[in-house]
């Protein structure tokens, strides 16, 4: 018995020592996992489309929200004149089918809709139907009643463009950003800033501005399909917007970077509608490819808008990502935006395997660019562009366009200035971006120039931000 116990103790000790000496332990860490997860790589055909996009592109986020009321004529004219490579916008749809360049689904923050319409259907709606759709009074009454059933106060999709055009999209900025506010941004005593349309955005990129009448209001006409004198079911309105040459245009032709918003905000045909709208303005390279390949003109001004990189599509929406792939077939550069959280389109598992699965989803649905959010004030978004995340994007062969930069500190961070050499050899070598959505176009341009990453063919000086606003007629 005693012998057996000794034998038992010896055996167990040997077992413990043997197992304890097996030191290999696959503890999960991002450094290792980035090379253990499956990241697909972009195909050769997709890479060709990816390369329509200039490296280190400066993307004026909503036109640059720091300086100007977002997504208005003022914003996009300013960003164009500053030398941004892309004018960024969000796409929604008005009730009568106009493709809008507008961020918020609810208009209360950036317009005076609460004062103009309150929570009711515009009182002019009945007359609108009679005037433009040529409805009889009875038809118009019935249509207004029908509208009430689906009416969502303050949601852009509940209003006709003609109704939206009555709203002031500039004054709010003066109240929320008094230091950057300018009297010219306000409808009262200034230049009426409208909710933009996709057509407006394209024309700003082409060097145009809104055609305004003597009263200072934009000029457009509304016609209808079908019989011009009476209404039949299925008749649609056609807006014809007028644009004028912008005498302050100094030659920049940026591209546009347009986002399909949440899929439930827009009709299911929205991606096709945008396709058609781009074609209408000769901005759809699938219909009319460009022969120009230089991103910058001889004088250094931006020429992206005249190349095949003139349009980049983007979305957070998984459904829109899929539908965009169906309509645009990967032939126009596409960015899959990332956000982490628990909402319907969010990446829930922000781990190497979860992150890689979203990159693979992007590739599956013909995206060429990933757009992760970045940390830092003032937005304090979650970090989705840490070195390991940027590494995964780089590994896929896609471009990395993080959003949104507001400070030089952020610029420095994603150029690895604060890594203090901890890049694990060349594994996580900075920079962690191939372009930047920025609310400070002037800062990002200057940083890229100072860093030596701005294309040498591009202008190497940045116009003064406030002087440019003054030049464009936006005064304090």
């Amino acid at each position: 018995m005693f012998k057996n116990l000794i034998r038992l103790g010896f055996t167990f000790s040997v077992a413990v020592v043997t197992f304890s000496s097996c030191e290999h332990q696959d503890f999960t860490n991002e450094l290792e996992d980035v090379d253990r997860v499956q990241v697909n790589t972009i195909s050769d055909d997709m890479a060709k489309v990816r390369d329509y996009v200039p490296r280190m592109a400066v993307i004026a986020h909503r036109g640059s929200t720091f300086w100007v009321p977002e997504e208005t004529e003022a914003a996009y004219r300013w960003a164009r004149e500053m030398g941004a490579d892309y004018l960024e916008a969000d796409l929604q749809c008005s009730k009568d089918g106009v493709v809008l360049a507008l961020h918020d689904d609810n208009l209360c923050r950036t317009t005076d809709i609460e004062n103009v319409y309150g929570e009711y259907i515009p009182s002019t709606r009945k007359q609108f139907y009679m005037t433009y759709y040529k409805m009889t009074e009875a038809q118009a009454d019935a249509q207004v009643e029908a509208d009430k059933a689906s009416f969502q106060p303050y949601y852009a999709k509940s209003y006709m463009y003609h109704e939206l055009a009555q709203l002031d999209a500039g004054t709010w900025f003066n109240e929320s950003s008094p230091e950057q506010g300018r009297s010219s941004f306000s409808k009262d005593g200034g230049i009426h800033q409208y909710i933009s349309t996709l057509g407006d955005l394209i024309n700003y990129a082409k060097g145009k501005k809104l055609q305004r009448g003597n009263d200072g209001e934009r000029v457009y006409t509304i016609t209808k399909t079908g019989d011009p004198n009476s209404y039949s079911e299925g008749d649609e309105l056609v807006y014809t917007f007028e644009y004028a040459d912008d005498e302050e245009w100094r030659g920049n032709n940026p591209g546009i970077y347009i986002e399909f918003k949440e899929s439930w905000l827009n009709p299911t045909t929205f991606e096709q509608d945008v396709y058609d709208e781009l074609a209408k303005y000769d901005y759809n390279i699938m219909e009319k490819p460009s022969s120009e390949t230089n991103f910058y003109k001889a004088d250094g001004s931006v020429n992206v808008g005249n190349t095949n990189g003139k349009v980049i599509l983007q979305t957070f929406s998984l459904e829109s990502l899929r539908r965009t792939a169906g309509v645009f077939k990967g032939e126009i550069p596409m960015c899959f935006l990332l956000w982490t959280g628990t909402a319907a389109t969010d990446l829930i598992y922000n781990t190497p395997s979860g992150y890689a699965s979203f990159i693979n989803l992007g590739l599956q649905y013909k995206a060429h660019i990933m757009g992760p959010c970045i940390a830092g004030a003032p937005n304090n978004y979650p970090e989705m562009n840490a070195p390991w995340q940027a590494y995964l994007i780089k590994k896929s062969g896609m471009l990395n366009h993080p959003y949104s930069f507001d400070s030089l500190e952020q610029m420095g961070k994603y150029f690895g200035e604060y890594n203090w050499g901890n890049e694990y050899g060349t594994l996580f070598e900075p920079p962690y971006l191939d372009g930047a959505f920025t609310n400070r176009t002037e800062l990002t341009l200057q940083y890229f120039i100072d860093k030596g990453v701005r294309n040498s063919a591009a202008a190497q000086t940045v116009p003064d931000a406030t002087a440019t606003l003054e030049r464009l007629g936006y005064h304090k």
Binding site: F12, A15, F358
Partner: protein, 446 residues
């Protein structure tokens, strides 16, 4: 015979029965017996210390050593009455094990009948009624871990003779009635066997099991009462109890388990196995949930549309295992008639064992798309922003093969050495295909 079958069936609906203390089947060393008073009292203990090394493809498991069983047991027998209790203190935590009272009818019938009441293993499983100390393996098979019932509070009735064995009972859902909300559900189940061959040299038994459980306890949120069922298995180890294969089934209301089992043993060899199938039905207060979501711009406006977006379907899971052992030397394998189980070791011996186990916790609808970054299935087969909720459960399918060698120094001390290869197929752990486990156990029981 007929009357016993009838009686068993009757009791299955009202009462139950089960094993003596197979959960702990070695004879205790410390005994006190007063034959005049017909009283026998025993005290015993058991200790298991495991050391394990894991190698996984991706998600790590913590290799190391742990005390995985530290029990004190006591029993008292008086005339036809038997009381048993044991408690576990392993990993520094108290855990309630068996505590029951059993009454055995004594008469001249070839049938032995007993009634049992208390907290002990549900009779509807061979694996979970086999004591960990008598298992011949370090852990029960993954299929049994995930799909078989464990201990429950209830009553049971058992009757057996050399060729038949019937054991069935009725049990409560929660032993302490400490559920957050709801009153307790009830389960009933049993194990019914036929032993065409059963003598000293050989036993063969064949049987069926059934269990029904009504899940009534859960948690109420916003006036909606939600029940839930969790299934899962460790990698058949106790040092790291991470469950690569696991499933959570919200709104589970009724579970129906059916199974078959077989056991064959001769002195030098045994083979046994079970197949288990679990059907889970659900129940949900759709009207209240629908009403609660009203009032937003994105609300579903009709109950029918809400139900279409939030379908509710039953789920099915299954699994099974086959275990074998070959004794190189020792006193031979023995069979416990009263428990219809293989007995534990009873002296110096050396055996080789092997097991194949399959656990199927994937119940995924054909054609669905899975997105790992969200751990979400998409019923239409493509990503959508607001898809109808999938009813798929991706708990994982797992094949496991175990080989081992067990050496018993004597009837008190044993060492087990085991290697298991698990092959996992679970969408959530897409990079974890192979999980290797090498483990050893020192077991001491008196």
């Amino acid at each position: 015979m007929k009357k016993h079958i009838y009686f068993s069936a009757l009791v299955a609906l009202t009462l139950a029965s089960t094993a003596v203390a197979q959960d702990f089947d070695t004879n205790p060393v410390v005994k006190y017996e007063n034959k005049e008073a017909k009283v026998k009292f025993t005290v015993g203990a058991r200790m298991m210390a495991d050391v394990a090394y894991y190698h996984t493809d991706f998600t790590p498991m913590k290799s190391g050593a742990a005390i995985t069983d530290a029990r004190i047991r006591t029993s008292m027998a008086y005339d036809n009455w038997y009381f048993y209790a044991d408690f576990d203190f392993s990993k520094g935590e108290f855990s309630q094990k068996n505590i029951f009272l059993q009454y055995t009818l004594k008469n001249d019938s070839p049938w032995t009948q007993s009634f049992k009441a208390g907290y002990y293993n549900d009779p509807s499983t061979m694996a979970n009624n086999t004591s960990r100390g008598s298992l011949h393996f370090i852990s029960r098979a993954s299929a049994a871990n995930a799909l078989s019932a464990g201990r429950q509070l209830g009553v049971s009735y058992k009757a057996y003779n050399d060729h038949f064995f019937f054991n069935q009972g009725v049990f409560a859902e929660n032993k302490y009635n400490d559920q957050i909300d709801g009153y307790q559900g009830v389960t009933f189940g049993g194990r019914w066997l036929w032993r065409p061959v059963n003598d000293e040299d050989q036993t063969f038994h064949l049987g069926a099991t059934f269990r029904y459980a009504r899940i009534n306890s859960g948690e109420a949120t916003d006036d909606v009462f939600q029940t839930n069922l969790k299934l899962g298995s460790t990698m058949m180890t106790y040092v790291d109890e991470f469950q690569f294969a696991s499933a959570e089934i919200p709104w589970a209301k009724n579970t129906y388990d059916v199974g078959v089992e077989a056991l064959w043993r001769v002195p030098k060899f045994f083979a046994r196995g079970e197949y288990m199938y679990k059907h889970v039905t659900k129940d949900r207060d759709d009207l209240t949930l629908f009403t609660n979501q009203l009032g937003g711009s994105q609300s579903w406006t009709t109950l029918e549309s809400w139900q279409a977006a939030n379908p509710l379907e039953s789920n099915n899971f299954h699994g099974g295992y086959v275990e074998m052992g070959y004794q190189i030397f020792g006193n031979g394998y023995k069979y416990d008639n009263g428990e219809a189980l293989l007995k534990g070791w009873d002296g110096r011996s050396l055996e080789l064992v092997a097991r194949y186990s399959y656990l199927g916790l994937n119940d995924i609808k054909d054609g669905e798309f899975y997105l790992p970054g969200r751990d979400q299935y998409y019923p239409t087969g493509e990503v959508q922003d607001y898809p109808a909720k999938s009813t798929s459960i991706g708990g994982g399918n797992m094949h496991s093969v175990t080989v081992g060698a067990n050496y018993s120094f004597n009837k008190y001390a044993q060492v087990l050495l085991e290697y298991t290869w698990n092959r996992l197929d679970r969408d959530k752990y897409q990079y974890d295909k192979n999980i290797h486990t090498l483990q050893a156990r020192l077991l001491f029981s008196f």
